[in-house]
């Protein structure tokens, strides 16, 4: 029974992708897209309560990846709701043709399939294939407008993503080499659960080099600082629903892959500690993105840099490790996914009204479009880390975990947080308040996904349900 649940998470999107590729008519396909995402969410939620199947050679469901799967399916569903109204508008203004839309919907489900497969994979080879699939589908969607800027973004994303993913495969091969003498030849040496059980006896120096490759490879997909060049372009030039899933989901999937390998290293006492590497890259991303935020003029590009900043914080938190660091990292990751996709929902409608992504063309949004404007204000307040939103709590936890163990790094962390905070509020003031600027046409916005996300973030900031806390604590212990 429960084995069927796992396959539901995988096969519903795959089936839907096939169907959507042949169905003409955007209303029907947008509806089907939502329905498929909703069914996937249903399967994902049922994984929480159902009895777990034993781990196979290909797939596994454990306490750790269930968190990611549910988050993935939820944001995937709400984004499909947002996408339905967004895409309708793009069709009216003629930026996309019906054929493009058919392609877009099929790719959307294929991307969800790729991400779910990466999350449920029990085989490091399969996981790699799935991450590559998710990358390729998003590359195609980023380039869908076919403007010179969109093509440049897609090309850059494709080349950097492929190089990253190639390095990750090299790292995967090295992990296999390290495992082979202990586990034996063949499939077993790539099965995650077997690897985790025997990691103690692996050759530590091979594992070290493998981790460096994996960190660089999957780190490119996470958007860590020296390797982030694709991220702002891909977010700014693609359709906004794709920006939402890129920030909210794909970065998490790459991070998940990295965390899986981090567990292997943590289990091997003779290998290097992955912590300092991750903390260093995380802090670098945070501070770099903090400075870059000040010079942005394009609103989607700005929030892309904010994603780099938050991935920096999350990677830093997981680098700190320990029960508190990992807990804070998990919470921060969940909160960031929900908040950032909510922001992109509102930004998507705003750019459609203003027919521009330039912040100079926007102003007084709270006056001209109260619902969108205040939604954006709430989202930015949340992402900047203001109480009472959930991001405040998770950032507070990261900072206190850092002060407990690495006071000097904690000072840098706080500096980076304040830097980003200042930049975001500065820009928000121009866009949301003051005199009304730019076009003020009516907007056909779907506010339900936007406010559903914000409500969740708000509730999480005030009161975290005890079962969820217990669950996160359990996962944090697994992460070592």
């Amino acid at each position: 029974m429960s084995a069927n649940l796992v396959s539901g998470v995988l096969f519903v999107p795959l089936l839907a992708a096939g169907l959507l590729a042949v169905i003409p008519g955007y209303r029907l396909s947008a509806g089907l897209n939502m329905l498929a995402s909703l069914i996937t969410l249903g399967f994902a939620l049922s994984l929480l309560v159902a009895e777990r199947p034993g781990s196979g050679q290909l797939l596994v469901v454990d306490d750790m990846n269930v968190v990611f799967i549910v988050l993935n399916a939820f944001v995937g569903f709400t984004t499909s709701v947002f996408s339905a109204t967004y895409i309708g508008h793009e069709l009216e203004t003629g930026r996309l043709t019906p054929l493009h839309l058919r392609f877009y919907h099929a790719m959307y489900q294929l991307m969800l399939f790729g991400m779910n497969m990466a999350l449920t994979a029990n085989n490091i080879g399969l996981m790699w294939v799935a991450v590559e699939l998710a990358t390729l589908t998003t590359v195609l969607m980023v380039g869908i407008y076919r403007t010179p800027a969109a093509l440049e973004a897609a090309w850059k994303y494709f080349i950097l993503g492929s190089v990253g993913i190639a390095l990750a495969l090299f790292g995967t091969i090295l992990v296999y080499l390290a495992a082979r003498p202990v586990v034996g030849e063949g499939m077993d040496a790539m099965v995650w659960t077997t690897l985790a059980a025997h990691a103690r006896d692996f050759d530590p120096s091979l594992l070290n080099i493998a981790f460096v490759f994996l960190l660089l490879g999957y780190g490119t997909k996470v958007g860590l600082a020296p390797l982030h060049a694709w991220l702002p372009d891909a977010h700014a030039e693609g359709p906004t629903p794709i920006s939402a899933v890129l920030s909210g989901l794909l970065l998490n999937v790459a991070l998940y892959a990295l965390l899986r390998f981090k567990i292997l290293l943590a289990a091997n006492p003779a290998s290097i500690a992955p912590g300092p590497l991750m903390m260093g890259l995380g802090l670098l991303s945070l501070i770099f993105a903090g400075f870059m935020l000040y010079r942005r003029r394009d609103i989607k590009r700005m929030f892309a840099y904010s994603s780099i900043e938050h991935m920096g914080i999350i990677v830093f938190a997981f680098g700190l490790a320990g029960p508190l660091g990992n807990f804070a990292g998990l919470l921060q990751m969940t909160m960031h996914s929900l908040t950032k996709s909510a922001i992109f929902f509102s930004v998507g409608h705003v750019t459609q009204v203003k027919r521009s992504q330039w912040m100079a063309d926007m102003g007084g949004l709270t006056e001209s479009h109260p619902m969108l404007g205040w939604g954006l204000v709430a989202g930015v307040a949340a992402i900047a880390g203001l109480p009472p939103f959930g991001v405040f709590m998770s950032e507070f936890l990261v900072v206190s975990a850092a002060f407990a163990t690495h006071p000097i790094l904690a000072v840098l962390l706080v500096f980076g947080l304040l830097l980003a905070f200042g930049a975001l509020l500065l820009r928000l003031g121009d866009v949301a308040f003051g005199p009304v600027k730019g076009l003020v046409g009516p907007v056909e916005a779907s506010s339900i996904p936007l406010f559903a996300h914000l409500a969740l973030v708000l509730v999480a900031g005030i009161w975290l349900p005890p079962p969820m806390v217990a669950w996160f604590q359990h996962v944090a212990r697994m992460l070592g």
């Binding site: 080879g125 399969l126 897609a154 090309w155 080349i159 190089v163 080499l177 790539m190 120096s205 590009r301």
Partner: protein, 220 residues
């Protein structure tokens, strides 16, 4: 007997590194595509030899894919693109050939220095294959960094992939899933790149990636 089979494996892997060096200094696109075909051909030989000495028949499939797809089909298709776009002119290399070659030599030294001590426990075939494969990967990266033309960047990426396949086949008993998926993903990746090349052609009348970068101006 055992000694000679190891020697042949090393020789083929060494040839692959040599082919990577040949790529670095090709100044014309046609010549570059010929070297790409040679690169994939050497890879096919090397994989087939691994299949023979490891007694792993499924590796012959990987070798066949390398031979048919990467050594013939891809260079042919890229050549057609080059002809259609009319860009069989000189490649503008950044930094000069001499410097690039020196960089390549440094990368080979680096990968030997890094990999050989680490893999002391594994069997000797895998040990040197991995070190040489890493050299091929790094030289592929170097090529992608130094070239500004879209076609030659793709060639750099394909040689990088070849290096990874060499590593995967050198690791004895690596499951088939991975090899097929690697080959498959190369196929997919290539289709994507092909589409992109045509789109770039449509929009710019050039496939010089440098021209793409203009569109970013003023945006930040």
């Amino acid at each position: 007997m055992r000694g000679i089979s190891f020697d042949i494996a090393h020789m083929l892997a060494g040839f692959l590194v040599l082919a990577s060096f040949l790529m670095l200094y090709q100044a014309r696109l046609y010549a570059l595509l010929h070297v790409l075909a040679l690169h994939a051909f050497v890879l096919a030989l090397s994989v087939a030899w691994q299949a023979h000495i490891q007694d792993a028949p499924h590796l012959y499939i990987t070798a066949a894919i390398a031979l048919g797809f990467k050594a013939m089909l891809i260079p042919w298709a890229l050549r057609r693109i080059v002809v259609r776009l009319g860009v069989h002119r000189e490649i503008e290399a950044v930094g000069g050939i001499g410097l690039t070659m020196l960089g390549g030599i440094a990368l080979v030294a680096l990968s030997l220095e890094v990999m050989l001590p680490v893999t002391a426990q594994t069997d000797p075939v895998a040990r040197e294959d991995i070190a040489l494969a890493l050299s091929v990967v790094l030289i592929g990266l170097l090529m992608m960094v130094t070239r500004r033309n879209a076609v030659s960047q793709v060639v750099g990426f394909l040689s990088l992939e070849n290096g990874i396949i060499l590593a995967a086949t050198g690791a004895r008993g690596m499951p088939l899933v991975v090899e097929i998926s690697v080959a498959f993903s190369v196929l997919v990746a290539f289709i994507v790149i092909g589409i992109f090349l045509f789109r770039i052609r449509e929009r710019f009348d050039t496939i010089d990636v440098g021209a793409l970068e203009q569109h970013r101006g003023g945006r930040q």
